[in-house]
C-alpha cells in the first residue's frame, strides 16, 4: 500500500462511531409542512400551546432566508427531502431501563455511554476510586430513549428529563422559559428548530441547589435521511449550580444529514451553569462525501447578578459546523466564558465562535479559541464582543489561536468588537502559525513518532481549553483530537 493510501485508509477507518443500528423505526413521511408539525406535536402528546408555538415558528421560518454569511459552502439543502420525525418503534420514554430495546442498550454500550445505574447501597460509602456518577439522557434520532438517575436527582428537587416530557409535566416552566433566550425568529435554523424540534433535555435546578452529579445528554443520529432537531433548556435558579455535558455521534453515510439544535440556558442570581460539548458527528469521508451539517444556536442568559455561564466545546466532527455558543450578560457582575477547540481535517468546514453581549454593570467575559486546520479543511473563528452603554466597567479578554497543518487548509479569524461604554475594557489577540519545526524536532529526537509528536504539541496547544472540561471528558477529548488528526501529518 502506498503511503498516501495508507493515510487515507487510516483516516477513513478512524471514525469508529460510524456503525448503524438496525432498529424498527416509526418514521414520519418526508417533507415539511403544517401537517408534519401537527403530527410531531400529536406524537409527543403536546398541549395546544406547544403546537401553536411550533406553527408560529414555521410561519416565521417560511418568510426567512437561509443565512449565507458564514465561510461555509454546501449545495442547497432540500428541506422537503427529510424525515422530521424518526423514533424507535418501541414506545418512547420507558419507565425503567429494562423496558429499553436491547438493541439500543447494545448500541450505547458500544458507544461507551453508561446507561446502567449502579445502585448505591444505603449506608455504603461510594468507592472513591470508582468513576463519578453521571446522569444521562440518551436521545436517539427524534426521541429520548432513556434518562438515568432521575430519582436520585428528584430527591434534591432537580428536574432532568426529556424536553417532550417537560412540556407535558412542567408546562409552566417550559412556557415561561422556552424561546426566552433564543426567540422563535432569531435566525433561520432556530426558527426551523422551534417548528420541528423533537427532543432534547430539560434541566431545572431549584434555588440554592448544587446538582449532586454531572448531567449529560448523548445525541445519536441513526436513521437515514432524517434531520435531528434537538432542543435543550437549562434553568438554574438563584444560587444553583450545574455542570452539563453533551456528546454526539452519527453513522457513516454518503449523504449529508442536518442537525439544527437550539440550546437555551438561564442563570439567575449567583447561579452557575457549565456546559461542555464534545461534538463528534460523522465528519464525512476523505473526499468530503457525507457527514453532518451541524447548524446550532446555543445561547445563555446570565439574568441574575453574579451569575455565570461557561461554554466549553471540543468540535472534531461534522462536515460543516455553524455554531456560536453565546452569553447575554444582563446581571451585574455576571460572567460569560467560552473555551473552544475546533479541529477540521479532510474537507471539513467549521465556522464557529461566540458572542458576548455585555449589558450588566461589571460583567466580564473570557474567550479562548483554538482552531486547528489540516487536510483541505477551512476553520473560521467568528466572534462578537458587544459592550452596551449600560455595561460600565465591563471586561473582555479574547485569545484566538490557529494552527495550520499542511498547505492545503485555511484558518480564518473574524472578530467583531463593538464598545459603547468608555469604562469597559476589551482586549483581543489572535495568532496564526504552524507547528514549530524546533518543537517537532525536539520530540522526534527523543524518539517520538512524528504523529505522536504532533499529538503532543496539539494537546499542548489546546491545553487551556481542555483543562476546562470535566476530567473524564478531557481524556476522551484528547483521544478524539489524536484520532481526528490521524494521517494528517507527514
Amino acid at each position: 500500500m502506498s503511503a498516501t493510501a495508507e493515510i487515507l485508509d487510516s483516516v477513513q477507518s478512524s471514525y469508529k462511531w460510524g456503525f448503524e443500528t438496525d432498529i424498527e423505526m416509526d418514521l414520519a413521511p418526508k417533507g415539511l409542512n403544517e401537517d408534519i408539525i401537527r403530527l410531531i406535536s400529536a406524537r409527543k402528546e403536546e398541549p395546544l400551546w406547544m403546537l401553536e408555538y411550533r406553527l408560529k415558528a414555521f410561519a416565521a421560518w417560511l418568510k426567512m432566508e437561509e443565512p449565507d454569511w458564514a465561510r461555509v459552502d454546501h449545495p442547497p439543502i432540500d428541506y422537503q427531502d427529510l424525515h422530521y420525525y424518526a423514533a424507535p418503534k418501541k414506545k418512547a420514554g420507558p419507565k425503567s431501563l429494562d423496558e429499553v430495546d436491547p438493541e439500543l442498550l447494545k448500541m450505547y454500550e458500544k458507544l461507551g455511554i453508561p446507561l446502567k445505574e449502579r445502585a448505591i447501597l444505603a449506608g455504603v460509602e461510594p468507592d472513591p476510586n470508582e468513576r463519578p456518577q453521571i446522569a444521562v439522557d440518551a436521545v436517539f434520532d427524534s426521541v429520548s430513549v432513556a434518562t438515568t438517575f432521575r430519582e436520585t436527582l428528584s430527591k434534591v428537587g432537580v428536574i432532568f428529563c426529556p424536553i417532550s416530557e417537560a412540556v407535558r409535566d412542567h408546562p409552566d416552566l417550559v412556557r415561561e422559559y422556552l424561546g426566552s433566550v433564543v426567540p422563535v425568529a432569531d435566525n433561520y435554523f432556530s426558527a426551523l428548530n422551534a417548528a420541528v424540534f423533537t427532543d432534547g433535555s430539560f434541566v431545572y435546578i431549584p434555588k440554592g441547589v448544587r446538582c449532586p452529579m454531572e448531567l449529560s445528554t448523548y445525541f445519536r443520529i441513526n436513521a437515514r435521511n432524517t434531520g435531528q432537531f434537538e432542543r435543550t433548556l437549562i434553568i438554574a435558579e438563584a444560587g444553583a449550580h450545574v455542570s452539563y455535558l453533551e456528546g454526539c455521534t452519527a453513522p457513516q453515510r454518503d449523504e449529508n444529514q442536518l442537525h439544527a439544535a437550539v440550546v437555551e440556558l438561564i442563570a439567575m442570581d449567583d447561579a452557575t451553569i457549565k456546559y461542555s460539548t464534545v461534538q463528534n458527528w460523522y465528519p464525512g469521508d476523505a473526499d468530503g462525501k457525507g457527514g453532518i451539517y451541524n447548524f446550532v444556536t446555543k445561547r445563555g442568559a446570565c439574568r441574575g447578578d453574579r451569575s455565570k455561564i461557561s461554554w466549553t466545546q471540543v468540535e472534531t466532527g461534522s462536515a460543516i459546523t455553524w455554531k456560536y455558543p453565546s452569553c447575554v450578560l444582563i446581571g451585574e457582575d455576571s460572567v460569560g466564558e467560552f473555551y473552544s477547540v475546533a479541529v477540521t481535517t479532510n474537507h471539513q468546514q467549521a465556522d464557529t465562535g461566540t458572542k458576548m453581549i455585555h449589558v450588566g454593570k461589571g460583567s466580564s467575559s473570557t474567550i479562548v479559541s483554538k482552531g486547528i486546520s489540516a487536510g483541505k479543511s477551512n476553520n473560521t473563528y467568528r466572534g462578537l464582543v458587544r459592550i452596551l452603554p449600560s455595561a460600565a466597567g465591563a471586561r473582555n479578554h479574547t485569545q484566538c489561536d490557529s494552527l495550520l497543518i499542511g498547505d492545503e487548509c485555511g484558518a480564518h479569524t473574524v472578530p467583531y468588537i463593538e464598545s459603547r461604554n468608555r469604562t469597559a475594557k476589551v482586549e483581543h489577540e489572535a495568532t496564526t502559525s504552524k507547528i514549530a519545526e524546533d518543537q517537532l524536532f525536539y520530540c522526534r529526537q527523543r524518539g517520538l513518532s512524528e504523529e505522536d509528536a504532533v499529538n503532543l504539541i496539539v494537546n499542548g496547544f489546546c491545553k487551556e481549553v481542555l483543562k476546562e472540561l470535566p476530567m473524564e471528558f478531557a481524556v476522551e477529548a484528547q483521544k478524539l483530537l489524536a484520532v481526528s488528526l490521524e494521517g494528517s501529518v507527514g
Binding site: H412, T413, P415, E418, K425, E429, A430, T432, S433
Partner: protein, 409 residues
C-alpha cells in the same frame, strides 16, 4: 422641483447622464461603472441590508445631501505643490512638479480599482473629471511632493489619482484634504510600486466639519518594494479611508498605519485589506482611534494570505481610546490564511484612559488636563512614531496637538 434629482444615487446618475459626452477618457468604462453604481447603490442609501464591507457605515446622510454647486472662485492656495479645488487642477495655485500630468489631459483607468465591487469606486469612475497622474522614473528619488485638495460649497468631486513608482524609485507623497462647506470628496488613488521602489504615502485628512470624505486607495507592490502609508484623520462628517494593498512580488512590504481623532457626531471608518499574494511579504498596521463627544470610529482590517505566500509575516494592531461616555468604536480585525508557514497576528484593545497612569501623574503634581493630554499623546505616539520623516511627523504632531487643544477648550 429639480432638487430631487441632484440627491442620492439617482442624483449622481442624472449628473452622469448630463455630463457623459463631455467627460474625458473611455466612454465604455464609464458606462460600465454607471451600471455597477446603479446596481450597487450607496451603502445605506436605501432601506435594504448593507453589504458586510459596509456593516458599520451608512451613507444615508450622503444620500440625503444635496450637492448643488461650488464656490471655488474664492479659494487661495494652501502651500501644496499640486492644488486641486473641488477636484479640478489649479495651475495658478500650483508649482511645477516633474513627472506630473493632469488626469483630464491623459485620462486612463488602471487595472487595480474595482468599480464592479466597490460602490464609491464605481461612482468615481463614472464621474471622475480630473486628478493627479504622477510618475517617478526608475532610480529617481523625487523627494517630497505635496498634493492638496480643497473642497468648497456643496460640490461633489471625484478625483482620480495615479501614482507610479518605477524600479528603485522613491517618493514621499503628502496628501492634504481641507475645505469649507458641505461637499463630497470621493477620491480614488491607484498606486503601483515597482521592484525595489519605495513610496511613503502620508495622508492628512482635515476636511470641513460638514464634508464627506470617502477615499479608496489601491496599491500594488512588486518584489522588494515598499508601500508605507499613514493616514491622520481629523475632519469630515462621515468619512471612510479604504485601502487595498496587494503584495504582488516576493519580499514586498506594506504599512497601513493611521490615527483617527474624532469628536462631535463625526463618523470615521478605516477599512483596509492587505493581500499577500507572494512569499516572504511583510505587512504592518497600527491604527489608533481617539474618540470624543458622540463620535463613532470604525476599524475593519483584513490580512489575506494566499496559498503559496509562504513565510508571510503579518501584524496588525488596532486600539481605541474612548474619552467620552457617548463615543463608540466598532472594530473588526480579520485574518484569512491559506498558507501554513506564516506568522500572522492581530490585536485589538478598547478602553478609556488608564486610571492608574492618570493617578501616577496627578500624584506627581501634573494637573488633570495636562496629564490627560500626555497620556493621549503617548497613546498616539505609537502610531505617529511610524512616520519616519521627521519634518512630516512634526506637521502631523502639530495637528494632533491642535486637535487636543480644541477638545480641552
Amino acid at each position: 422641483m429639480s432638487a430631487i434629482s441632484t440627491m442620492g444615487a439617482a442624483g449622481f446618475l442624472a449628473r452622469f447622464e448630463a455630463l457623459r459626452d463631455s467627460l474625458p477618457g473611455c466612454a465604455a468604462e464609464r458606462a460600465a461603472a454607471a451600471e455597477s453604481f446603479r446596481a450597487l447603490g450607496l451603502p445605506g442609501g436605501t432601506s435594504g441590508r448593507r453589504s458586510e464591507a459596509w456593516k458599520y457605515t451608512s451613507l444615508r446622510p450622503l444620500a440625503e445631501a444635496d450637492f448643488a454647486g461650488s464656490t471655488a472662485d474664492t479659494v487661495h492656495g494652501d502651500g501644496a505643490d499640486l492644488v486641486f479645488v473641488d477636484g479640478v487642477f489649479r495651475p495658478d495655485l500650483s508649482t511645477t512638479v516633474p513627472g506630473f500630468t493632469q488626469f483630464a489631459e491623459a485620462p486612463a483607468f488602471g487595472p487595480l480599482p474595482r468599480p464592479d465591487r466597490d460602490p464609491l469606486v464605481a461612482l468615481n469612475t463614472m464621474l471622475a473629471a480630473d486628478g493627479a497622474v504622477l510618475r517617478v522614473p526608475a532610480g529617481v528619488n523625487a523627494g517630497i511632493v505635496r498634493l492638496g485638495s480643497i473642497g468648497t460649497g456643496a460640490s461633489a468631486f471625484h478625483p482620480r489619482h495615479m501614482i507610479h513608482l518605477e524600479q528603485g524609485a522613491s517618493l514621499i507623497l503628502l496628501e492634504t484634504a481641507t475645505g469649507n462647506g458641505a461637499y463630497l470628496h470621493n477620491p480614488v488613488t491607484e498606486i503601483t510600486v515597482a521592484e525595489g521602489a519605495h513610496l511613503t504615502h502620508i495622508r492628512l485628512q482635515d476636511e470641513a466639519t460638514d464634508a464627506f470624505h470617502l477615499a479608496t486607495i489601491y496599491a500594488e507592490v512588486a518584489e522588494g518594494g515598499t508601500y508605507d502609508g499613514f493616514s491622520l484623520i481629523l475632519g469630515g462628517r462621515v468619512t471612510r479611508t479604504e485601502i487595498h494593498a496587494v503584495l504582488n512580488g516576493k519580499s514586498a512590504t506594506a504599512h497601513m498605519n493611521g490615527a483617527q481623532l474624532l469628536t462631535g457626531t463625526q463618523h470615521a471608518d478605516f477599512t483596509s485589506v492587505v493581500r499577500h499574494a507572494e512569499p516572504n511579504g511583510t505587512s504592518r498596521q497600527t491604527v489608533k482611534n481617539v474618540l470624543n463627544g458622540r463620535s463613532r470610529g470604525v476599524f475593519q482590517g483584513r490580512i489575506e494570505v494566499a496559498r503559496h505566500a509562504q513565510k508571510t509575516d503579518g501584524y496588525q494592531m488596532n486600539q481605541a481610546l474612548l474619552l467620552s461616555p457617548d463615543a463608540e468604536i466598532d472594530s473588526k480585525p480579520e485574518l484569512e490564511i491559506f498558507a501554513d508557514d506564516v506568522k500572522c497576528s492581530h490585536g485589538a484593545t478598547v478602553g478609556e484612559l488608564d486610571a492608574e497612569q492618570l493617578f501616577y501623574l496627578r500624584s506627581r503634581g501634573v494637573p488633570d488636563s495636562e496629564a490627560r493630554a500626555l497620556l493621549v499623546r503617548a497613546f498616539l505616539a505609537e502610531a505617529l512614531d511610524l512616520v519616519t520623516d521627521e519634518a512630516i511627523r512634526a506637521i502631523l504632531e502639530q495637528r494632533v496637538d491642535a486637535w487636543w487643544e480644541r477638545q480641552a477648550a
